[in-house]
């Protein structure tokens, strides 16, 4: 029974996704469970998954990047603009866009890591500046002419009439990130920093460098997301990417409840994104209007954080019970450990921003 319970909580997202697909398939048997629809969902959510994976890194080290929507919008306009107005080949455009993203990330990372400014405020401020740049560049216009067909193929091709290329891109990024975070020393150090930046510093981890890198990667992925978005839609819309912020965070928090509960992780985030995507599409099919999406995203975000918090509360209660039981264990050899004295500070601290969900 306990095994079932842990299995469900660990893979709850997958289970939730399956249930949701089943429910919508029953509700709309002609429209929902089709290859075409599946392809659409995969394609729609690919951009979101890039953004969600991006913001995950600052979250792992204990910071918030609230700029990805703006950075992605900038990437959208730069991509569309450079392709149509300047007629640059798309590899060059990609390189430029990624470098611009990296630079923005580096600025934020420096302010947070070296000047120790609050990441919420820094990313909001920088994001706001970027949004101004977007308006300036685009003059509020949607760019829909002059985008070469060869480029649009990158975003609209579906392998075997089903698998959209953007999903492949997102998958590749996810696999790479998963590998680095779970297998590489750098990934372990990121989680260490998230757990305790001071302890990390004391064992010789260059905390500043890793925090800086996390912001750079976040912005690079946001830029990539914008690039892919233009390829998918064949047009550059200056504000379409801004609505990605909340669902990205919903996905990251929701993702922290599965696969590696209590820690932000790649597969959890990835599945959460598709849960959001499938859910939104399903609701539209059931006749939901455009307002359905933000309501759904917001509700899901709250649910995600609540579930995660309950998980933490349950975990600490279990831990406390275990600690007490261990404390009173009869041992053959002398038990010398201390009671569960609080490693917590003497003073009640004001609530710090969560290192993990």
């Amino acid at each position: 029974m306990r095994f079932l319970f842990t299995a469900v909580s660990k893979y709850g997202l997958v289970v939730g996704l399956i249930i949701m697909i089943a429910a919508f398939s029953i509700a709309k048997p002609d429209a929902f469970p089709t290859f075409a629809n599946a392809g659409s969902i995969l394609s729609d959510s690919a951009v979101l998954s890039l953004v969600a994976l991006g913001i995950m890194l600052p979250l792992v080290v204990g910071h918030f990047d609230l700029s990805p929507g703006f950075v992605a919008s900038l990437a959208v306009m730069l991509t569309a603009g450079m392709l149509s107005r300047n007629q640059l080949p798309w590899p060059v455009v990609l390189l430029i866009v990624l470098v611009v993203g990296a630079s923005i990330g580096a600025i934020m990372g420096t302010l947070v890591a070296h000047l120790e400014l609050n990441s919420l405020i820094v990313s909001l401020g920088v994001g706001s500046v970027v949004s101004g740049l977007v308006l300036m560049y685009s003059e509020g216009q949607i760019i829909f002419q002059g985008i070469p067909k060869s480029f649009v193929k990158l975003g609209q091709t579906r392998l075997f009439d089903f698998m959209p290329l953007p999903f492949i891109y997102a998958m590749v990024v996810a696999v790479v990130m998963w590998f680095v975070l779970s297998m590489r020393p750098g990934g372990r150090r990121l989680y260490a920093i998230g757990s305790s930046p001071e302890a990390a510093r004391l064992i010789g981890i260059n905390v500043r460098r890793y925090v800086l890198i996390s912001f750079v990667v976040s912005s690079v992925l946001a830029s990539l997301a914008g690039f892919v978005q233009v390829a998918r839609l064949g047009a550059g819309h200056p504000t379409s990417a801004q609505s990605l912020l909340l669902p990205a965070y919903a996905a990251a928090f929701l993702g922290a409840t599965a696969f590696r509960p209590g820690f932000y992780n790649v597969w959890g985030t990835f599945f959460a994104v598709y849960l959001v995507g499938a859910g939104t599409t399903g609701l539209f099919m059931l006749g939901g209007e455009s307002h359905v999406q933000p309501v759904f995203n917001g509700a899901l975000l709250i649910l995600a954080v609540a579930v995660a918090r309950l998980g933490v509360i349950r975990k600490s209660k279990t831990m406390a019970k275990r600690a007490e039981a261990m404390l009173h264990q009869r041992e053959e050899t002398r038990q010398h450990g201390d009671g569960p004295d609080c490693p917590a500070p003497i003073l009640l601290s004001t609530d710090k921003s969560p290192k993990r969900a």
Binding site: A199, M319, Q329, D338, A344, L348, S349
Partner: protein, 508 residues
């Protein structure tokens, strides 16, 4: 400090605890947690105006007893009898987590317990500050009521917590439970607290004093109860007991008091660390050297600059002048990263900073040396497990499994992991800042035995900064005494005794 209305204070006078009369009595308390038997028929009698020390290795049931008194647990059987109880608040507690609000002032923290005085809805601040000032003077606490609590030293904070607890007790009598109040205080600051407790005695308060520091018990307590494995093994006045007997009662056997383990004759070379005229903020022109395989202890009061010395050597703080030479190389403007890469290890004063609380035991052991657990592409699970198992067995860490978060372990076991992880690297010098703070006698000895063994076998040197002079005298090869930032005395060999060091520390 009683602010109840006149009617109730009249009732208080009726229940006044006279000196020596029983304030609270615990009879035959039993408590089980599932299979574990935490309290087995424990008796306890607390008398007004008496300090009753409660001793025992953790796991003995001390914490459970306190929690039952506090109402956090309910006992399975037994009674708690309060012959003169007036209302529910005649027991006040000061826990290890003081529960003060850091950013707020002393006045506010005190007023939270008693209630703010208001006039037409607004707080009468002037009145409140005056009231706080009276309390501070009464308890001889040296600070201003308008100071933020977080700006105060740990001793003042503890005294404020005690003052706050006292405000919920009647003017005379009541029961005050102090749970390891001096655990975070260096020895001289603890004295101020002891004075305060003596003051409370004169007010007829029955004090239940829980501590690991046997010196305080011998100094302050009138009666002592020792618990072991949930049962009371001793109860009686303090007069008949000496230090060794107390230790024997707590641990259940004679703790070996070997003064010095003979240094290995195996030579590891010379001059692991040489410090010349090092100065920082408090540290003034300190020179010392450590040889491989040597344990050098630094004793001194708070403000002597001990901790800072450790930070300067480890690269956490920039020296203002002087030279540090480590393994024959001069360290110039080095960071903690450089120090670690070069072969130093550091166990910080705050235990929480030496561990990654939310991460597993296994993760904690490998993070300091990820290179050693790598396979071809990344971290190898098998090597990682092996490394963690090695540390756990070598240090006898008691953990349910390697996957539990390290914060689930007891303080002593956390400390063992915090120390053990360094020894997975090619660490040549360990800097230990108050490594045995809040850990009971048995675990302390275990930790130092391991350090000494590693010093003998691997030639690791250690700089031990501690205020527990007995520990230093017993386990270190040499001890330096620091005062006001300078080295004032050195002890080694036969001259190195706890008493001699104590004299030097307090004599300066």
């Amino acid at each position: 400090m009683n602010l109840v209305d006149p009617a109730q204070s009249a009732a208080n006078d009726v229940g006044v605890e006279r000196q020596g009369s029983i304030a609270i009595e615990v009879r035959n308390l039993h408590k089980r947690f599932g299979a574990t038997y935490a309290l087995r028929g424990v008796d306890l009698v607390l008398k007004g105006g008496c300090v009753h020390a409660l001793l025992g290795a953790n796991g003995c049931g001390k914490s459970t007893l306190v929690k039952v008194l506090a109402g956090y647990h309910s006992a399975d059987s037994g009674e708690i009898i309060r012959p003169n109880a007036v209302g529910e608040t005649s027991i006040a507690f000061v826990h290890q987590d003081l529960g003060l609000v850091g950013p707020l002032t002393v006045t506010e923290n005190l007023a939270f317990a008693t209630g703010f005085q208001t006039r037409m809805g607004a707080i009468k601040w002037a009145e409140e500050h005056r009231r706080a000032e009276r309390i501070l003077q009464e308890y001889k606490i040296d600070c201003s009521p308008r100071e933020a609590v977080s700006a105060l030293g740990p001793a003042e904070q503890t005294m404020i917590a005690i003052a706050r607890a006292m405000s919920s007790l009647p003017t005379r009598g009541g029961v005050l439970v102090l749970d390891e109040p001096t655990a975070r205080l260096p020895v001289n600051e603890a004295d101020r607290l002891i004075q305060l407790v003596r003051l409370l005695k004169t007010r007829g308060v029955a004090v239940l004093y829980i501590t690991h520091r046997l010196d305080e018990v011998l100094q302050l307590a009138d009666e002592v109860t020792v618990l072991r494995d949930g049962a009371r093994v001793h109860c009686g006045p303090i007069q008949s007991l000496g230090r060794n007997e107390l230790v024997r009662l707590i641990v259940g056997k004679n703790v070996e008091t070997i003064k010095h383990v003979a240094r290995s004759t195996k030579s590891f070379g010379s001059d692991l660390l040489a410090v010349a005229d090092l100065s920082g903020q408090r540290v003034q022109q300190v020179s010392l050297s450590i040889e491989p395989g040597e344990l050098l202890g630094i004793a001194g009061l708070v403000g002597s600059g001990r901790s800072e010395l450790g930070r300067l050597i480890f690269g956490l703080q920039r020296p203002t002048s002087g030279k540090i030479t480590f393994q024959k190389e001069d360290l110039i403007n080095h960071s903690s990263e450089d120090a670690v890469a070069g072969g130093m290890g550091y166990v910080p004063q705050e235990r929480a900073k030496g561990i990654f609380g939310g991460l597993s035991v296994e993760e904690n052991t490998i993070l300091a040396n990820l290179q050693s657990v790598m396979a071809r592409f990344g971290v190898s699970t098998s090597r990682s497990k092996q490394a963690a198992t090695d540390v756990v067995s070598q240090f006898q860490v008691k953990a349910e499994s390697l996957d539990v978060p390290i914060e689930a372990l007891s303080g002593g076991n956390q400390q063992k992991v915090s120390l053990g992880k360094w020894l997975r690297r090619n660490t040549k010098l360990m800097i230990l800042d108050e490594p045995t703070q809040g850990i009971d006698v048995g675990a302390r000895t275990e930790i130092f035995h391991v350090i000494r063994r590693l010093a003998r076998e691997r030639g690791i040197g250690a700089l031990v900064l501690d205020s527990d002079l007995d520990i230093l005298a017993e386990h270190c090869d040499r001890v330096l005494v620091m005062a006001r930032g300078r080295i004032v005395k050195a002890f080694e060999g036969a001259a190195l005794t706890a008493d001699a060091v104590r004299l030097a520390v307090y004599g300066h």
